[in-house]
């Protein structure tokens, strides 16, 4: 089972991100469970959503306390809330930011996790560029597809297409693809990792294995 925890603020589409991720996994024939952690809904308040992905039916109903990946849709949360609590030793971190992890004060995290497991992507900027609105969830998922090998970009795009009206979906898909390409290129350059193509099937990342081994 692969568990993802997504952090952000109300109004940024955190819950939708978890849902899209689960639909992407579903489209690849896997079981997935996406659910929010609830507070009374208020724009701007910190929110979390979870997504579990597995090859068999998921029976567990507790919040994700030991995520394999943490996605951060709002970097302003970084030092006010402990976003990485319980993160697996070989876990993945993806932050929506134009700055690099060190600049965000994440040097310690980078050090304790395997090389290349902590990345940033300017999701909001990509969203503004392709969609016209600063909703980072679609590009963040596109980037994630290039990162942990858990879902393919094609599946993410198919999930987006299912969820949004055609024109909006198209633009979000472009943002997702731009983010995917960016991270993919970075991983090749920085870590000399070959990332599978957008539509290539991936094995579900087993706990303890990195995406490099599925290349």
């Amino acid at each position: 089972m692969f568990s993802v925890r997504i952090h952000g603020r109300g109004g940024q589409g955190v819950v939708t991100a978890a849902e899209l991720l689960s639909v992407a996994a579903f489209r690849e024939g896997r079981h997935a469970q996406a659910f929010p952690s609830f507070g009374s809904e208020r724009m701007g308040a910190p929110v979390m959503a979870f997504c579990r992905i597995d090859g068999r039916a998921i029976r567990l109903r507790e919040p994700v306390v030991r995520p394999d990946a943490v996605l951060v849709q709002d970097a302003t949360l970084l030092h006010s809330v402990d976003l990485f609590q319980g993160l697996a030793d070989d876990g993945w971190v993806l932050v929506d930011s134009a700055r690099d992890p060190a600049a965000l004060g994440l040097a310690d995290l980078v050090a304790r996790l395997p090389t290349g497991h902590v990345r940033t992507v300017p999701a909001r900027e990509l969203a503004l560029e392709h969609v016209g609105r600063p909703k980072p969830n679609a590009p963040l998922l596109g980037a994630f597809a290039a990162l942990a090998g858990v879902v393919t970009l094609d599946a993410v795009i198919a999930a987006i297409a299912e969820r949004f009206p055609a024109a909006v979906a198209e633009r979000n898909a472009r943002a997702a693809r731009a983010a995917f390409d960016r991270v993919r290129a970075e991983r090749v350059a920085d870590d000399r990792v070959v990332v599978p193509e957008a539509g290539a099937p991936t094995a579900l990342a087993a706990p303890g294995a990195s995406a490099a081994s599925t290349a």
Binding site: E19, S22, V23, A32, A34, P46, R59, L60, R61, E62
Partner: protein, 420 residues
């Protein structure tokens, strides 16, 4: 048809396929997505003919359903928590009149203090109103139980409550095989009322019944519940034949063979329990679980049979009878009256407090060791409790309990665990 879909939406789609004639809706967290989805289905014509009535309160919602059902339409509504209590008079009325209404409860805690998260206190508050109460373990079952519910309700002429854990199930997006319309039509024939407001054959419904006949009328309500004990498994069997999967039924044992300790629970926590059972079995601990699918009628015999070979029972309860323990454990003990076993009440998950694998493991092993109290509160912050009690002793006007505890805990805990 396989869909990756939110639980509420799956319930709405399943209900729509049952062809309700009248749907009445009053919003309350966490049921809102169900009634919103149904509004959409009616507006687009996907669910037709159907009258969708936006009402002014939950009391009105069930009252509209009562009128609609008595006048021959298949009636449906949904509520939770405060809403269920607000319509309490109508809940008893519907059962007393014998109207086959189906209602979804998105289980949520009942205040005060106000709380929007999941527990079973709402369902428990209405357990003896005369409704059949079914509980879903996951969203597939949540959808399937509604199809069974209309069958059960109409065969018995008795209303049915389908309990779906609020947020945990209602707001979870997961894989559900939505029943096909053709299969539902074959399984659920058109509504043929046992009693009807008909201008051609006028009857008076709702007369006063005095001491000379009240006991007999009430016994007949009891009889309906006893009949349901036979009907529920039969309908579950028919459902399995038609739809090809198991859903519903009275009790669902899991790895009970050779189990010394059996865990009993209602609803979604059974999924987490199953994971813990597997984990412990791998470690050689003889433990199993029983998920109760129908809380009313309470399956005394079926449960007794399922628990027969155990040495102890741990009941995970998402409700509290203050001063006593839990409603579920009390009923479980009744099932074991012929062969009493130690039954532990574990009060857990009240107001949406997460029930974790780790904590479940701990209580099961404690029970095994003989180390678990009769009534145990899972993951309770005892120091916070003691501090509040100390405040009561210090001064008369110690202030609202909820505010004090919240202030106390926000000072004590870091932000992260507060959100979880």
């Amino acid at each position: 048809m396989l869909r990756q879909i939110e639980g509420s939406r799956a319930v709405a789609e399943a209900v729509a396929r049952c062809r309700p004639g009248v749907v009445c809706a009053y919003p309350i967290t966490p049921q809102t997505h169900i009634v919103e989805a149904l509004a959409e289905l009616v507006r687009t014509g996907a669910l037709a003919p159907c009258e969708y009535v936006n009402v002014e309160s939950e009391f009105a919602a069930l009252s509209v359903a009562i009128g609609a059902s008595a006048a021959g339409a298949r009636a449906y509504t949904a509520t939770a928590s405060q809403g269920l209590l607000f319509m309490a008079e109508a809940v008893y009325n519907a059962a007393g009149l014998g109207l086959p209404i189906v209602m979804t409860i998105g289980n949520r805690a009942v205040g005060a203090p106000i709380n929007i998260w999941n527990d079973h206190s709402d369902a428990m508050a209405m357990k003896d109103a005369g409704w059949i109460q079914l509980f879903a373990d996951d969203n597939q079952e949540a959808a399937d139980l509604h199809v069974q519910a209309f069958r059960i309700a109409e065969e018995l002429s008795c209303p049915v409550m389908v309990n779906v854990d609020g947020f945990i199930l209602t707001h979870a997006v997961e894989r559900v095989d939505l029943p096909e319309q053709g299969d539902v039509d074959a399984f659920l024939p058109p509504f043929d009322p046992q009693q009807l407001l008909d201008v051609n054959e006028p009857v008076s419904m709702g007369a006063m019944v005095g001491p000379d006949a009240f006991m007999e009328v009430r016994y007949l309500a009891h009889l309906k519940q006893l009949r349901a004990l036979e009907l529920i498994p039969r309908i579950a069997g028919e459902f399995r034949e038609r739809f090809g999967r198991a859903a519903g039924g009275l009790v669902r044992p899991y790895r009970t063979g050779g189990a010394a300790t059996l865990v009993v629970a209602l609803g979604s926590v059974n999924g987490t329990i199953a994971e813990v059972v597997d984990e412990l079995r791998d470690e050689g601990v003889p433990v199993g679980s029983v998920s109760i699918g129908a809380f009313r009628p309470f399956p005394l015999d079926a449960l007794a049979a399922a628990l027969a070979d155990a040495r102890r029972v741990v009941v995970i309860e998402k409700n509290l009878a203050p001063g006593l323990g839990g409603a579920l454990a009390s009923n479980v003990r009744m099932a074991l009256r012929a062969h009493p076993l130690p039954v532990h009440t574990v009060i857990a998950g009240l107001g949406g407090r997460s029930i974790t694998r780790g904590s479940l493991r701990r209580v099961v092993l404690a029970a095994e060791r003989g180390d678990l109290e009769d009534v145990h509160f899972l993951d309770l912050d005892w120091s916070a409790v003691h501090r509040e009690v100390a405040r009561w002793t210090e001064r008369r006007r110690s202030g609202p309990v909820a505010e004090n505890v919240l202030r106390d805990l926000s000072a004590a805990r870091p932000p992260m665990s507060r959100v979880v």
